[in-house]
């Protein structure tokens, strides 16, 4: 069943990502990004990352995307106008370069890791909240505490930036 779910979720994620890039309205892009994040959360679950799958849904799809949608609605952002003249040649070269980048990355992955093993759902469930918490509060305690300072600075910075009189 693992390949079946992988193809469904991977197809959904790629479809939503293409939709994100090609939609002109920001709200449509934001909803596509939520789709990508949901599909990725289930893929994390397949890879045994229970805690991160939950965190992905709560933090990314929940908190960050609500912030995005909130700002889009606050600014009343409409559809993007096609004002910029992009030449046909530039568009073609850009697509070609993107395909070349993807090809090089895929080639490198296949060349570096030819037989890396395979994924079966439930074969390794290491990323439970207990395991992650244990590591987070012992080995990675200092980065974790520094992260809290980072968040504090971000809060203060956001409030200062979004004040009325800037």
């Amino acid at each position: 069943m693992t390949p079946f779910f992988f193809f469904i979720l991977a197809g959904f994620a790629v479809f939503c990502a293409i939709s994100l890039v090609s939609q002109t309205h920001p709200i449509a892009s934001a909803l596509s990004l939520v789709g990508v994040m949901g599909a990725l959360a289930v893929l994390y679950l397949q890879l045994g990352a229970e805690f991160l799958a939950a965190a992905q849904m709560i933090v990314y799809a929940g908190a960050i995307m609500v912030l995005f949608v909130f700002v889009i609605m606050l600014l009343n952002a409409g559809a993007e106008q096609e004002a910029r003249r992009v030449s046909r040649l530039a568009r073609f070269v850009g697509m070609f370069m993107m395909a070349a980048l993807l090809g090089i990355i895929s080639f490198t992955i296949q060349g570096q890791f030819p037989n890396m093993g395979s994924v079966t759902f439930g074969a390794w469930v290491g990323g439970t909240a207990q395991e992650v918490g244990m590591l987070l509060f012992t080995t990675y305690l200092l980065p974790f505490e520094i992260t809290s300072i980072l968040i504090l600075i971000a809060i203060v910075g956001a409030i200062v930036l979004a004040r009325r009189e800037v």
Binding site: T2, A13, A30, A83, I109, G127
Partner: protein, 108 residues
């Protein structure tokens, strides 16, 4: 006739290639879009793709350390989203535009 058997596992490199595809789409959106909010969302897409790579290698090495890194990426993305959206808000208040081509004071 032997019974039809489906493989019960996915090669690990497919996850990496899916991550590469999502990352390239994020780069394309970052370069191609003009709306600053969509550009910002493309960055989030790239961060998500990198997280998938972290978790795939974590599965391969049977270590939870990769999950910790993905967790930190998530936290930093949250902080970045808060500050970035505040900057977008300020820019919109002062210039009444969301198009990145028109926000070019640092260009000379």
């Amino acid at each position: 006739m032997p019974p039809l058997t489906f493989p019960d596992s996915v090669p690990l490199s497919w996850y990496l290639i899916l991550s590469a595809v999502l990352f390239c789409l994020g780069v394309a959106g970052f370069v191609y879009r003009r709306n600053v909010i969509t550009v910002f969302m493309s960055i989030e897409l790239m961060l998500n793709a990198v997280n998938l790579t972290f978790i795939t290698f974590s599965y391969k090495l049977k270590h939870v350390d990769g999950h910790i890194f993905a967790f930190f990426v998530m936290v930093v993305a949250a902080a970045e989203a808060a500050v970035g959206l505040a900057i977008i808000l300020t820019v919109f208040k002062n210039r009444h535009t969301l198009l990145i081509d028109e926000v070019n004071s640092l260009k000379w």
